[in-house]
C-alpha cells in the first residue's frame, strides 16, 4: 500500500495540516493500524522534496510542526497515474485496491474503470496461468491452480466491489 499516494490524494480536496492528514487517513484507511506522526512527516518531506506537494503556510505559535501542505500539479498527475496503473496481480491486494477505489471515489475519478482495468490485468495473468496449466505436468497444474484460486478470489472481490460502488461512494463522500 502506498501511503505517499494516499496522503497526496487526500490533499486533492484542499490543503491540510499534517495532523489533519493523519486523522483523515486513520479515519478512512487505518482501521486497525493508525499512522505514526513520524510516518506522516517523513512521507511528507519526501513528497516535498519530489515537488509533489508544497507548503501552503505555517500556523503561528503551534506545536513542533504546524505546516500546511497543498498538492501540486505534478502531485495530481502522480495520483492519476497511480490510479490507472493496475496493480501487479498478487495475493492480498485488497487493502491497496480498496484504498485506490476510495481514493478514486474521493477524487471524483472513475472507480469502475479502475476496477475494469484491474480485472483485465488479473485475467491476463489468469490466462497465462491457465495456459501454463494446460501445457504443464501435474505439479505445474497444482501450483497454477493455487495461484488461480487466489486470483479468482480477488476478482470476485473486484466484482462485488464494482456492484457496490454507489453505496461506497455515498459512504466515503458524506
Amino acid at each position: 500500500m502506498s501511503i505517499g499516494h494516499t496522503l497526496l490524494a487526500l490533499l486533492e480536496s484542499g490543503p491540510r495540516h499534517g495532523y489533519d492528514l493523519k486523522r483523515a487517513f486513520d479515519e478512512k484507511f487505518g482501521h486497525d493500524r493508525p499512522l505514526h506522526y513520524g510516518q506522516v512527516y517523513s512521507t511528507m518531506s519526501r513528497l516535498l522534496k519530489n515537488g509533489l506537494v508544497e507548503v501552503d503556510g505555517i500556523e503561528a505559535g503551534g506545536g513542533p510542526d504546524r505546516k500546511r501542505y497543498a498538492i501540486t500539479e505534478a502531485g495530481i498527475t502522480d495520483v492519476a497515474t497511480w490510479l490507472t496503473q493496475p496493480e501487479k496481480p498478487e495475493p492480498y491486494l485488497q487493502s491497496t485496491l480498496y484504498t485506490k477505489v476510495v481514493i478514486a471515489l474521493l477524487t471524483g475519478r472513475s472507480a469502475a474503470a479502475l476496477l475494469d482495468t484491474q480485472r483485465a490485468e488479473h485475467l491476463r495473468l489468469m490466462r497465462v496461468l491457465t495456459d501454463r496449466k494446460r501445457r504443464g505436468d501435474l505439479a505445474d497444474q497444482l501450483i497454477c491452480d493455487h495461484a488461480l484460486f487466489h486470483l479468482e478470489a480477488d476478482l470476485r472481490w473486484l466484482e462485488l466491489t464494482s456492484t457496490r460502488l454507489d453505496r461506497l461512494a455515498a459512504e466515503v463522500r458524506p
Binding site: 475494469d116 482495468t117 480485472r119 483485465a120 488479473h122 489468469m126 491457465t130 494446460r134 476478482l155 464494482s162
Partner: protein, 228 residues
Amino acid sequence: MIPEGSLLIAEDLHKTYAHTPALAGACFSIHPGEVVAVLGPSGSGKSTLLHCLAGIVQPDAGRVRYAGRDLTALSDAERSALRRTDFGFVFQFGQLVPELSCTENVALPLRLAGIRRKAAEQVAMEWLERLEVADSGSKRPGEISGGQGQRVAVARALVTSPRVVFADEPTGALDSYSGERVMELLTEAARSSNAAVVLVTHETRVAAYSDREIVVRDGRTRDPDHSL
C-alpha cells in the same frame, strides 16, 4: 474502431424487453479462431448480446455483420439456416432432448442439415469420442452426469464444424473441475477447427480460457483494451 479481419461484428446494439432495456449501445467483434469472453454481472445483457449476435433475437437498433452479411437484414428462415450451418450453441442446461440418446442428440444438427441418419450418427460418435464421452453414446441425457451432458452439448455444437460457437454459461451448472474440463475441450476443439467462440460467463476461471474479454454493464460494452 473495428479490428480488421473480424468474422462477426456488432455495432451499437439496442434491445428492449417489455420496457426493460437489455442492450443500450453494445459493440462486439471477434476474429476467426478467437475466443472472446463476455463478462458482466447478471442482468447486464450478456445473454441478450449473445442472442443478437447469433441471430436468435433481432435487435431494435444497430447492426450485426457476419462474414460480410448483415444478419439483421436476413429473414427468420435465412437466419435459422445460417444457425444450422455456421453456428453452434452450448447452453447452461436443458438443451439436450431427454428422449433421444446422446448420439442421436449430437447427430440432430447434421440430420437437420439433411444428412442421413447412419452417416450423421457416425460423425456424432467421433465427436463424442473427441470429447471423451463415447461411453454415453447410447444413454439418454437423464442417465449421465451434468459434466458429461455438457460435453455432449459441446459435441453437438461442434459437430457441424461451425465457424462460431456461442456458449452461454456452458459451465454454469457444473462443479469447477468438470467446468474446466468442458472449457478445455471446448476451446481446444474450437481452436483446432479455427472456430471462433463467444463465451458468456460470470466465472473468471472460465473466462481465463478466452483470448480476450469484454465487459457488459447496464447494456453497454466496455472493451478494457480500448477504454480509458
